[in-house]
């Protein structure tokens, strides 16, 4: 292993120690891969299935099997039930489901100082655990030495920092809570934080990365060089590395027990991932675009296979359609149909989409997993900021995700990445 990447560690300040430049040892992620020029054609199609997940309660959960290996070895493990998530970036695995020994990222010269991460999600739930590295194999593709989050089970390992729990939600470190064995973040960014986490001055709580002493148990926030941040493994493939296509079949209005589809790696790199008729919608620097409904522009909209509903507006605005027993879900007396307009960053991409919202209580009673018409609120009775086009929006579509900074097919401008459908 070689020494790489200076690390300015801010916890030194908390402990009254002069902040020092510390060098990180470990198998960090590689540099920026070049665009696809490989002569060989890899099998780029990974099977995915919409089902209820390993805890049997994930409505509209979409899962795949991912193989992780100790870097540079043939010591590998295939892990099923990994949630396919276009709303996050990087692979996160429940430590309880990982049997191979993946090396943890530590500081060089002081292996008792380890890199940990806390991700707090918008609903306040969180995952906390070590940053490790793994070779990742999916279909015929392989990414080497990828930083990955190994999610700790509750009450194991280093104590969860208080800022990590400050969203007020549950610890998703168990199969019962996560209802998955891990999360595969294949959204439109290479890194889970990016440039926002590389400067020491930015490391102010709440912050995702921590340096922790395994001898004292103390943790403090720290900046992390890009190469050591948890990152989207697709971006580290030698080819087919500019994005993904998530393909799901149509399902009936009453739902379907399960649904099988494909996660295809690369956009316009092989015959099976050509854009075809799909239109590109550029995203802004936050990964968002604008959805217009009833003359109101919702400027922070996004597409997220990890959201299990189309989340938009609020019950009062839509005529008090809240479910009485399932807060946040929509339960209209009869199915509602919507037509909204989406506009990409700088006007790159413009078009209307239609979707329906049916009664969630009725759908839940089927015991099925796959629904194209589940809805929920994203706001209160005052104006909200966004539509979240969750998994219902993916059925019957090929949804292209273009990673920020990659060459965009068709030559349109999408510097911060794009969706295409």
């Amino acid at each position: 292993m070689t020494l790489r990447n200076g690390w300015r560690v801010t916890w030194g300040r908390f402990l009254g120690v002069v902040t020092a430049l510390i060098v990180l040892a470990g198998c960090g992620g590689g540099g920026s891969p070049s665009s696809s020029t490989s002569q060989t054609t890899a099998n780029n199609t990974l099977a995915v299935e919409v089902n209820l997940g390993p805890a049997n309660n994930y409505v509209n959960g979409i899962f795949a099997t991912v193989t992780v290996c100790v870097p540079g070895t043939s010591t590998c493990q295939s892990i099923p039930n990994i949630l396919v998530d276009t709303g996050s970036y990087g692979l996160r695995l429940l430590s309880s489901q990982v049997s191979v020994s993946l090396p943890q990222t530590t500081q060089s010269g002081n292996s008792s100082n380890v890199l940990q991460e806390c991700v707090t999600y918008a609903d306040g739930s969180y995952t906390w655990g070590q940053v490790v590295t793994a070779d990742i194999e999916m279909a015929g593709e392989k990414a080497s030495a990828v930083p990955v989050q190994l999610i700790s089970a509750p009450n194991t390992g280093l104590a969860v920092p208080s800022a990590c729990t400050s969203g007020g939600g549950p610890n998703d470190g168990t199969v019962d809570m996560l209802d998955a064995y891990g999360i595969l973040g294949v959204g439109g960014y290479p890194y889970d934080c990016g440039d926002g986490c590389t400067s020491a001055s930015s490391a102010v709580s709440p912050y995702p990365y921590y340096i922790c002493s395994t001898s004292t148990g103390l943790c403090g926030v720290t900046s992390v060089p890009l190469a050591n941040q948890v990152q989207n493994p697709v971006w580290l493939f030698p080819q087919d590395n500019n994005g993904v296509v998530l393909v799901l079949p149509s399902v009936p209005a009453g739902g379907q027990a399960t649904a099988s589809g494909s996660l295809i790696f690369g956009v316009a790199t092989q015959s099976d991932n050509a854009l075809g008729e799909a239109q590109i919608y550029a995203t802004d620097s936050y990964g968002n675009f604008t959805t217009t409904y009833n003359g109101v522009a919702y400027s922070q909209s996004f597409i997220d296979s990890g959201s299990n509903a189309i989340d938009f507006l609020d019950s009062a605005t839509l005529g008090n359609i809240d479910c009485s027993d399932n807060p946040g879900w929509y339960c209209p007396a009869s199915t509602l149909n919507f037509t909204v307009s989406n506009t990409g960053y700088n006007g790159v991409g413009q078009g209307s989409v239609e979707f329906s919202i049916a009664n969630a209580d009725t759908l839940f009673k089927t015991g099925f997993a796959a629904f194209n018409n589940l809805g929920g609120d994203s706001g209160s009775s005052i104006a909200t900021d966004y539509f979240d086009f969750g998994l219902p929006f993916f059925f019957g579509r090929s949804m292209f995700v273009g990673i920020a900074g990659t060459t965009v097919p068709n030559g349109v401008s999408a510097p911060y990445g794009y969706w295409a459908y």
């Binding site: 908390f14 309660n57 409505v59 509209n60 709303g87 996050s88 991700v119 707090t120 999600y121 918008a122 609903d123 306040g124 920092p161 208080s162 729990t165 400050s166 969203g167 007020g168 939600g169 549950p170 959204g187 960014y189 889970d192 926002g196 102010v204 709580s205 709440p206 912050y207 103390l218 403090g220 990964g287 968002n288 922070q300 996004f302 997220d304 990890g306 959201s307 299990n308 509903a309 989340d311 609020d314 399932n326 807060p327 946040g328 879900w329 969630a360 839940f364 929920g376 609120d377 994203s378 706001g379 209160s380 009775s381 005052i382 104006a383 909200t384 900021d385 966004y386 979240d388 969750g390």
Partner: protein, 147 residues
């Protein structure tokens, strides 16, 4: 700098004093500013006062103060979730009421009780939301301003 050190220590050790901002007097805004180590901008608006704190970590927190001097609303936007426990103070416990029934996955958190209205949403690298206390809204000020 000494104050910052103390605040940092408290955060690390979890020995956080009463942070309390929402529903508290305006002076608690400076506590937030210290915790976020941010730059503070203030302005008077029609019927209320407005503070905006920009943290070096990229998170922007806006706080809305009534003529009575109470913080009646907060809003945030940034690459990470803010410390809601700190920003909501005693209203933090209201979050638990929203967590029942079939779990919403990977989506927003919306809380609407008599005491608190809160909306938290977004995705990794882009989080935003707002919260307000309906009973503390100044007369002639719409909840729409808290955003």
């Amino acid at each position: 700098m000494k104050t910052t050190l103390t605040v940092g220590m408290a955060l690390v050790l979890g020995a956080v004093p009463a942070w309390a901002v929402l529903g508290q007097y305006e002076s608690s805004v400076s506590l937030d500013q210290q915790a976020l180590r941010g730059e503070l901008r203030q302005e008077a608006r029609q019927g209320y006062k407005f503070h905006q704190i920009t943290s070096p970590n990229g998170t922007v927190v806006r706080e809305y103060v009534s003529p009575a001097g109470l913080v009646f609303g907060i809003a945030w936007q940034g690459p990470f979730m803010p410390n809601l426990q700190q920003l909501l103070g005693s209203y933090f416990t209201e979050l638990q009421t929203a967590r029942s029934g079939v779990r919403r996955r990977g989506g927003p958190l919306v809380v609407q009780t008599d005491k608190l209205v809160l909306v938290s949403g977004g995705h990794m690298r882009s989080y935003h939301g707002h919260a307000y206390v309906p009973s503390l809204l100044p007369s002639n000020v719409s909840a729409e301003v808290v955003r």
